[in-house]
C-alpha cells in the first residue's frame, strides 16, 4: 500500500513536469475553440486582422481603461476601414523596440508589418523574408497616398526599391529638419553679452556662462551634451550642429569637388571642430560626465540652471519647457539662433533624406492590402480629419489633453515638405488665423495662442517653436540660401558598409571622445584617418562611388 502510493506520487511529479514543459502547446490547442464564435462577426463586417509590433512611449498617456490591446484608436481603425490591429509584442520604449525588432528578425518571427531601419530593409529583402509590395501598393494606395509619398520627386520611394521592386513603405518625414542653437537669453542680458552670431561669440558666451555662473548653482558648465552626441538620432544635447559650424559633418557622403564622393568623418574640418571641443573641455565648459549621461540626465543641467547652451532640432523647446516653465510662470528665457559659422562662409546644416525607417510587410502576411489601407487612412486623418476623426489624435473624447494618441497609429508617414516657417510665425505675430493651411498649422497656432493670450503659459514651448522669433521662423532663410547639405548617398548599404560600418563608427567615437576629453592629442585624428581607410573605409568609398556613377543626376 505504502509502496504503491509512493510510485503514484513519483509518476504524478513527472507528469506535472512534462505538462508544464509542454504548457505552450496546450495553450495553442485551447485557442481554436475560443476563436470560433468570433468568426461570424468577422465575416459580417469583413474585418481583416493585421498584426504589428509597437513601442510604448513616455509621452503616450492612455485614457482610463485603455491599453495597447484595446483603445479608441484601434477601435476606430476597425470601424472605419475594417482593419483589426493586434500587437505581437509591445516594447517598453523606443530603444527596446529596436532591440526587439532585431530579435524578431533573427528568430524569423515577423508580424504582418513592422518598422525597420535601412540596413534591416536590405537584409530582409536579401533573406526573402518580406513581400514585394509593388503591385499591392499600386492597386490599393489611393491617388492621394501616391502623391503624398512622392512629393520629393520619388526619392524616398527609390531608397526602398531594390531591382525595381518596392520592398517597403518609407516612414517619410520632411528631410529639411535643421538643427538650431538654443541659448539662455536672460543670462545674455544679465551678463551684457551680444547674441551669438559667430562661433567666437558662442565660445565667449559659453565661457562667461562658466566663469560668471549666472545661474548661481556653483557648478556651472557651458553647454549641455549627452552620451551619444555624434549620433544623428540625438536630436537634443548633440554636437552634430557644432561640427556643422566648422563645415564638418557626421557620416555623410559629400562631393570632393572632382565629382567623387568622400566620407565626411575623415575630413580635416572635423579635426578643427574636435580641437575646439578639446579647448572647451579644458576650460570646463563641458561637463566631463557627459559620457555616462543620457539625454534626460544631460537636460537636467539645463533645467537646473547649470548650463545655458544646447544644440538641437526645432522641437527642443518642448524639452526645455520642463525647466523653463514652473508653476505657470516662465522662469528661464531661451532664444533660438541659426548655427553660427567659424568663418565668413555661413554654416550649412546637415540633413538626411527624410527617411531612415521603412514599414515592411512579412512574406507570411495574409492581408497586405490591410497595411496599405492603414497607410491611406493615416494620411487622411493626419492631414484633413473630419471632427469625428479627431479620435485618432486625441482619443474618444476628441479633446487635446496632451495624451499624444497619434503615437498609437501603427503606420505613420509625415509630409515630405512643409511651409510652417513661412506661415506660422506670421500668423502668430499678427494673430491672423486666415492664412493657416494644414492641420499642423492649426494645432500649433492654437497652442501658441494659448500662450500669447495667457490662458496656458505651459504652451510657452510652442511659441518658441512656431512664434515670430521661434525656430520655424529661421527656416525660410536657411531654405532659400540653401544653407544645408544633404547626404549624396541614398542607396542600400554596400557590402563593405554592412561589414565594417559598425567597426569604423566605434573607432571613430572612441577617437573623437578621447580628443574631446583631452585624453589624447588632437593629432590622434590623423592616425584615425589612416586607420579608417585601412579598415575598410577605402573599400567603402570605392563602392559608394561605383553606385554614384550610376545614380548621378
Amino acid at each position: 500500500m505504502k509502496k504503491k502510493s509512493r510510485i503514484l506520487l513519483i509518476v504524478a511529479l513527472i507528469l506535472s513536469l512534462t505538462i508544464t514543459a509542454c504548457g505552450k502547446t496546450t495553450n495553442e490547442g485551447e485557442k481554436q475553440p475560443e476563436k470560433q464564435p468570433e468568426t461570424p462577426v468577422e465575416q459580417k463586417n469583413e474585418v481583416i486582422e493585421v498584426s504589428t509590433v509597437s513601442a510604448s512611449d513616455q509621452y503616450l498617456k492612455f485614457d482610463e481603461g485603455e491599453s495597447f490591446e484595446k483603445n479608441s484608436v484601434y477601435d476606430a481603425y476597425e470601424k472605419d476601414i475594417g482593419v483589426k490591429l493586434t500587437n505581437k509584442w509591445v516594447s517598453a520604449d523606443d530603444v527596446q523596440f529596436k532591440e526587439k525588432v532585431k530579435m524578431s528578425i533573427a528568430s524569423n518571427d515577423l508580424p504582418d508589418f513592422m518598422k525597420v531601419n535601412a540596413t534591416q530593409l536590405k537584409e530582409l529583402t536579401e533573406a526573402d523574408m518580406i513581400m514585394d509590395i509593388t503591385d499591392v501598393y499600386d492597386k490599393n494606395a489611393t491617388d492621394e497616398t501616391k502623391k503624398f509619398l512622392s512629393m520629393d520627386g520619388g526619392m524616398q520611394l527609390k531608397t526602398a526599391t531594390f531591382d525595381g521592386k518596392l520592398m517597403g513603405i518609407p516612414s517619410s518625414y520632411n528631410p529639411y529638419q535643421y538643427q538650431f542653437l538654443y541659448v539662455r537669453t536672460d543670462w545674455l542680458k544679465k551678463l551684457n553679452l551680444p547674441e551669438p552670431k559667430t562661433m567666437a561669440d558662442l565660445l565667449t558666451i559659453a565661457e562667461a556662462f562658466k566663469t560668471k555662473d549666472p545661474g548661481g548653482t556653483g557648478k556651472p558648465h557651458g553647454i549641455a551634451i549627452s552620451k551619444d552626441p555624434f549620433n544623428q538620432s540625438t536630436a537634443v544635447t548633440g554636437l552634430i550642429a557644432f561640427l556643422n559650424s566648422y563645415h564638418a559633418y557626421e557620416n555623410l557622403w559629400m562631393e570632393d569637388g572632382n565629382g567623387n564622393l568622400v566620407n565626411s568623418d575623415i575630413q580635416p574640418q572635423v579635426k578643427d571642430a574636435l580641437k575646439a571641443l578639446q579647448e572647451m573641455f579644458k576650460k570646463g565648459l563641458i561637463d566631463p560626465e557627459f559620457v555616462v549621461k543620457d539625454v534626460e540626465k544631460a537636460a537636467e543641467l539645463l533645467y537646473n540652471n547649470n548650463a545655458g547652451i544646447v544644440y538641437g532640432q526645432s522641437w527642443v523647446p518642448a524639452q526645455l519647457a520642463k525647466g523653463a516653465v514652473k508653476d505657470g510662470k516662465v522662469v528661464q528665457e531661451w532664444g533660438v539662433f541659426p548655427i553660427p559659422s567659424v568663418d565668413s562662409e555661413p554654416a550649412r546644416s546637415q540633413i538626411g533624406l527624410g527617411v531612415d525607417e521603412y514599414y515592411v510587410i512579412s512574406k507570411q502576411a495574409k492581408h497586405p492590402e490591410g497595411v496599405i489601407k492603414l497607410l491611406n487612412h493615416w494620411i487622411v486623418v493626419d492631414n484633413h480629419p473630419t471632427p469625428e476623426q479627431k479620435v485618432y489624435e486625441y482619443g474618444k473624447d476628441l479633446k487635446e489633453k496632451g495624451n499624444n494618441y497619434w503615437l498609437l497609429s501603427p503606420l505613420r508617414v509625415g509630409k515630405q515638405k512643409d511651409n510652417n516657417g513661412e506661415i506660422l510665425p506670421r500668423a502668430i505675430e499678427n494673430k491672423d488665423e486666415s492664412i493657416l493651411e494644414t492641420k499642423d498649422h492649426k494645432t500649433r497656432y492654437e497652442r501658441a495662442m494659448k500662450y500669447v493670450d495667457g490662458t496656458d503659459i505651459n504652451m510657452w514651448w510652442e511659441y518658441l517653436i512656431s512664434g515670430p522669433k521661434g525656430a520655424y521662423s529661421l527656416v525660410p532663410e536657411i531654405q532659400n540660401n540653401k544653407q544645408y547639405l544633404q547626404n549624396k548617398f541614398y542607396g542600400a548599404p554596400t557590402p563593405t558598409m554592412a561589414d565594417r560600418q559598425e567597426i569604423l563608427k566605434k573607432k571613430r567615437d572612441e577617437v573623437y571622445f578621447k580628443i574631446m576629453m583631452n585624453q589624447v592629442s588632437v593629432d590622434e585624428f590623423d592616425k584615425f584617418v589612416e586607420e579608417w581607410k585601412k579598415l575598410g573605409g577605402d573599400e567603402m568609398t570605392k563602392e559608394v562611388n561605383e553606385w554614384y556613377a550610376t545614380h548621378k543626376q
Binding site: 513527472i14 532585431k102 524569423n108 533573406a127 561589414d499 559598425e502 585624453q519
Partner: protein, 301 residues
C-alpha cells in the same frame, strides 16, 4: 541476472525521475550545438541552418583582421581573472570571519544583507553606480574630497575602469560565495578544533591549520568551476557602464560580439566568436580539472 532484475525493480522510479532532466539537457544544451554551423556560414534567418551558404573560415578571418582584437581578448582575460581571484579571496575571508561570530542573529543578519545585491540586475545597479561614482556629485568622491583627494572619474578613466568592474562585481556577488563557504565550514569535525586547542593552537593557528585545510576541497571545486568563466568578464555589467572613452580598457569579447552580431545582424560572425570562446574555455576547464586532480587530488567526475 537475478541481482540486476532486483536492482532494476528497486530503482526504476529513480531512473524515471532522471528522465525529464536528461530530456531538458538534450533539448537545451545538445540540440542547439548544431548552431555551431553558423560560424562557418553567412547565416540568413529565414533560410535557416541548412539553407544558408557556407563561407568557410571567413568569419574567423574577419575577426583576426580586426585591429583591436588582441586588446579585446586581453581586457576579457584581465578583468575575468581578477574577478575570479577576488571573488575567491573575499568570500573565504568573510566566511571565516563570520564563523567566528558568537551571536547567531548577527551572523544571520549580516549573511542576508550581503546576499541581497546578488538579486539586483546590473541595469538597475549601473544607474546607482553612475550616481555614486560621479566626480561632481557622487558620494565616493565627496568622501575622497574630505581627505583632499581630487575627484576621480572612475567610469571615464581607463586606469580605473577595470578595477571598478572587479570591485563592484565582487561586492555584488560575494554574499553568494560566502554562503557556500559557510556551509563548508559546518562540515568540519569539531573534534579537530578540540585537538588543536589541546595542542596549544590559538584562534589564528586553528584557522590556518584546521579551518582552511577543511575548506580546501570546496575552494578547489569552486575554483575549477569558475575557471570556465575566464572568458566571461560580465557582459551586462560592462555593457551598462562603459562608454567610448573607456573602450580601450572595457571592451570585452561579449560587448564586441553584441555590437557586431546583434546590432549589425552578423549572426555568423557572432557565432564564430562564440565558438572560439567556447574552445578556449574548454581548454581552461580541462587544465584546471587536471590540476585539481594532481595537486589537491580532487575529482568532480
Amino acid at each position: 541476472m537475478n541481482v540486476l532484475t532486483r536492482m532494476w525493480k528497486r530503482e526504476w522510479p529513480l531512473h524515471l525521475m532522471l528522465f525529464p532532466g536528461i530530456v531538458l539537457v538534450l533539448i537545451f544544451s545538445y540540440i542547439p550545438m548544431a548552431g555551431i554551423m553558423m560560424a562557418f556560414q553567412k547565416y540568413v534567418p529565414n533560410k535557416g541552418l541548412f539553407g544558408s551558404p557556407f563561407i568557410g573560415l571567413k568569419n574567423f578571418q574577419l575577426l583576426m583582421d580586426y585591429p583591436d582584437i588582441g586588446r579585446i581578448f586581453f581586457n576579457t582575460v584581465y578583468i575575468a581573472v581578477m574577478k575570479i581571484v577576488a571573488g575567491m579571496i573575499v568570500p573565504v575571508t568573510i566566511a571565516i570571519l563570520l564563523n567566528e561570530l558568537r551571536k547567531e542573529w548577527v551572523k544571520r543578519t549580516f549573511q542576508t544583507l550581503v546576499y541581497l545585491p546578488h538579486f539586483l540586475s546590473w541595469v538597475l545597479l549601473s544607474g546607482i553606480l553612475i550616481d555614486v561614482l560621479s566626480p561632481s556629485s557622487g558620494i565616493l568622491n565627496q568622501v575622497l574630497g574630505l581627505f583632499g583627494i581630487d575627484p576621480v572619474f572612475f567610469l571615464g578613466d581607463n586606469k580605473w575602469f577595470p578595477y571598478v568592474m572587479v570591485i563592484s562585481d565582487v561586492w555584488k556577488e560575494f554574499g553568494f560565495g560566502t554562503i557556500v563557504y559557510l556551509a563548508a565550514l559546518t562540515g568540519i569535525n569539531p573534534s579537530l578544533y578540540e585537538a588543536a586547542e589541546i595542542d596549544g593552537a590559538g584562534r589564528f593557528k586553528q584557522t590556518l591549520h584546521v579551518t582552511l585545510p577543511g575548506m580546501l576541497p570546496i575552494i578547489v571545486l569552486m575554483f575549477t568551476l569558475s575557471i570556465g568563466n575566464v572568458l566571461n568578464a560580465g557582459f551586462d555589467q560592462i555593457f551598462n557602464l562603459y562608454s567610448p572613452p573607456v573602450y580601450e580598457s572595457a571592451d570585452i569579447i561579449d560587448t564586441f560580439v553584441y555590437r557586431m552580431g546583434i546590432e549589425q545582424a552578423q549572426f555568423g560572425f557572432a557565432t564564430a566568436v562564440g565558438l572560439l570562446k567556447s574552445v578556449i574555455s574548454f581548454i581552461f576547464v580541462s587544465m584546471s580539472y587536471i590540476l585539481a586532480y594532481r595537486v589537491a587530488n580532487y575529482r568532480i567526475f
